[in-house]
């Protein structure tokens, strides 16, 4: 087994042991980190692996959250069915929206994903009778068999680990290799007979699926949901997480989510000026660590061991 896999298993064991410390603070923080880490990794399938800048990823996160809440509260489905449909709802939305978006490139792609996510937001915001409008939906309880914060932490851990495992298989598969080829040179990929738009669309759907899963998890974690889940600053925030960790490494976005959420929790207990701090971190990152945290450490390791 490779060294990276040993590290992953060690991290996983540590994560599984965290609730034994009895610290509610860390259980809370890590649940949050796992959920947003999955969200960021799913975004990075587009950003880092396919070279598509999606500026509207909050749409699928929000759709997942609302799909779960509505299926449980309004449709009265059982937990298993509702949770499975959560991911599919994101994939379905990504299929429809992606169908139009992949026809465009670069900045126009980013603008169209943003425009669609704003439509999703506006619909959720205005459709009072279904979504509760501005007040959102309250009272989303833990399902019976995961009735405590610790149990929910383990549930989240399992869902996220399985999802991330699947995503890692995807990026290392021939399909994933085609995506990186598209990122590096779409014209050449097209000319060797690969349907670039189709593969971009498939990546978009997979990404939407896992973003919706993370949205569904967050709905349960937060016990209530709001239209702001789909609003564009969330899309920006998950992009920042991805870049902070490093978009050219698979686990980078996970690290970015961890660092950002930890800092936010710590900083907001001292000062109300968190946006200022976040903005400053982002500026430092762009100017001095363009490869993100993971990219920075990878460079350092290479420097110290030139012959790997």
């Amino acid at each position: 087994m490779s060294r990276q896999n040993w590290v992953l298993i060690a991290v996983l064991v540590l994560l599984a042991l965290v609730p034994l410390t009895g610290s509610r603070y860390y259980v809370f923080l890590l649940t949050d980190v796992l959920i947003f880490g999955l969200f960021a990794v799913s975004l990075n399938l587009l950003l880092g692996y396919t070279g598509l800048v999606s500026f509207g990823q909050a749409a699928y996160f929000g759709i997942g959250a609302y799909a779960y809440a509505l299926l449980i509260k309004k449709a009265g489905l059982t937990f298993g069915v509702a949770f499975a449909l959560t991911g599919l709802s994101g994939a379905a939305a990504a299929l429809i929206i992606g169908f139009f978006c992949v026809r465009l490139t670069k900045i126009y792609f980013a603008m169209l994903t943003l425009a669609f996510s704003q439509i999703v937001w506006a619909i959720i915001f205005k459709w009072n009778s279904l979504t509760g409008g501005d007040t959102g939906i309250y009272g989303i309880d833990f399902p019976e068999f995961i009735g405590s914060k610790t149990k929910f932490y383990y549930f989240t851990l399992i869902v996220v680990v399985v999802s991330v495992f699947l995503l890692r298989r995807i990026v290392n598969s021939p399909f994933g290799r085609i995506l990186t080829t598209i990122r590096d040179n779409p014209e050449r990929t097209e000319s060797i007979g690969i349907n670039v738009k189709l593969f971009q669309l498939l990546a978009f759907i997979v990404s939407g699926f896992f973003s919706a899963i993370s949205g569904g998890l967050f709905a349960i974690f937060n016990h209530s949901i709001f239209p702001d889940f789909c609003y564009w600053p969330i899309s920006a925030e998950v992009l920042i997480m991805t870049l902070l960790g490093g978009m050219y490494s698979f686990f980078g976005p996970m690290v970015g989510a961890g660092v950002l959420l930890y800092l936010r929790l710590e900083v907001t207990s001292y000062t109300q000026y968190w946006p200022f701090i976040l903005g400053s971190i982002l500026v430092l990152l762009l100017f001095f660590f363009p490869g993100g945290i993971v990219g920075f450490f990878q460079d350092q390791i290479k420097k110290w061991r030139p012959s790997k």
Partner: protein
């Protein structure tokens, strides 16, 4: 609902006022994108700072005659210079980076500037009173319509015309247009492209700040106005065509009037209408109504 003609006409005039404000802001966004290739999220923040700085200047100058106009000039120029400093010291270093990095840098500015404004002016809603000359209303079709709004409706096209004249007929305007088309060739012809970029960013920032300064008497100045306006400005620029000047004007008119008319007919859907127009434009003509296809 009562749809008598005068009511619809007045609503249309309010829409036209809004369109002019959106035009001022979006035209700055458009010229910065057209020349620098940067989609500036912080444009809304400059607009917000323009409004706050006007409030500050008004309270400084309140005893002198014509204080509102001085406040508008001083505030918009100050914010424009701030834009110039940001471009010179920071943004400049990112031109060689990927577009996503530039986008995130301007988003970082949104976060920083919103907190700076919150730190200086707090979270209370502030307001500026209308200048003495333009207080009161005139009667149009039996309804009262504020004089200040009429002034804005005339000011918008005047600025559009001046701007168009500047771009088409002056040497600086020609160089800006040349830079939008091919900055390498322009540089090799001996034009200082670096300085030109700063000038364009200052002009764009000034337009945003002017929008903020002029809007201050008709809205409440408060945190969050930056994020609200930027999406509308993006929509206008995208519908009109990124970098297209008259496209921006046309799209601002469309968005302003569709919004105010839409509220009359479908109060819940007027916001969605505009997003849908944007999506349709992006799908059918990604380069916008009056733009031309770009190789970016």
């Amino acid at each position: 609902m009562n749809f008598d003609f005068s009511f619809v006409a007045i609503q249309f005039l309010y829409g036209l006022t809004n369109a002019m404000f959106i035009f001022l802001i979006a035209s700055g966004l458009s010229i910065i994108f057209g020349v620098l290739g940067v989609l500036n999220f912080a444009h809304g923040s400059l607009y917000m700072l323009g409004a706050y700085t006007t409030y500050q200047c008004v309270s400084f100058f309140v005893d002198s005659p014509g204080y509102f106009w001085w406040a508008v000039i001083v505030a918009s120029v100050t914010v424009a210079l701030l834009g110039g400093i940001i471009e010179r010291l920071l943004l400049r270093r990112l031109y060689q980076h990927e577009q996503i990095n530039q986008l995130l840098f301007t988003y970082a500015l949104v976060l920083i500037l919103s907190d700076v404004a919150r730190f200086i002016w707090g979270v209370d809603q502030l307001s500026v009173s209308r200048p003495a000359v333009l207080k009161g209303a005139v009667e149009i079709f039996g309804q009262y319509f504020p004089k200040y709004n009429i002034f804005i409706i005339f000011l918008g096209p005047s600025i559009a015309f001046l701007f168009w004249f500047f771009m088409l007929r002056t040497r600086s305007g020609r160089m800006i247009r040349a830079a939008a088309l091919d900055r390498e060739t322009l540089g090799s012809l001996g034009v200082n492209v670096d300085r030109l970029f700063t000038v364009v960013f200052v002009i764009g920032s000034w337009l945003a700040a002017l929008g903020g300064a002029l809007v201050s008497p008709v809205v409440t100045i408060r945190p969050g106005m930056d994020v609200e306006i930027i999406i509308n400005a993006f929509i206008v620029v995208v519908i009109g065509g990124l970098g297209s000047f008259w496209g921006t004007f046309l799209a601002a008119l469309m968005v302003g009037t569709v919004y105010s008319m839409g509220i009359l007919v479908f109060p819940r859907l007027s916001m969605i209408f505009i997003y849908v127009i944007m999506v349709l434009v992006l799908i059918i003509r990604p380069w916008g109504l009056l733009g031309r296809p770009l190789q970016r």
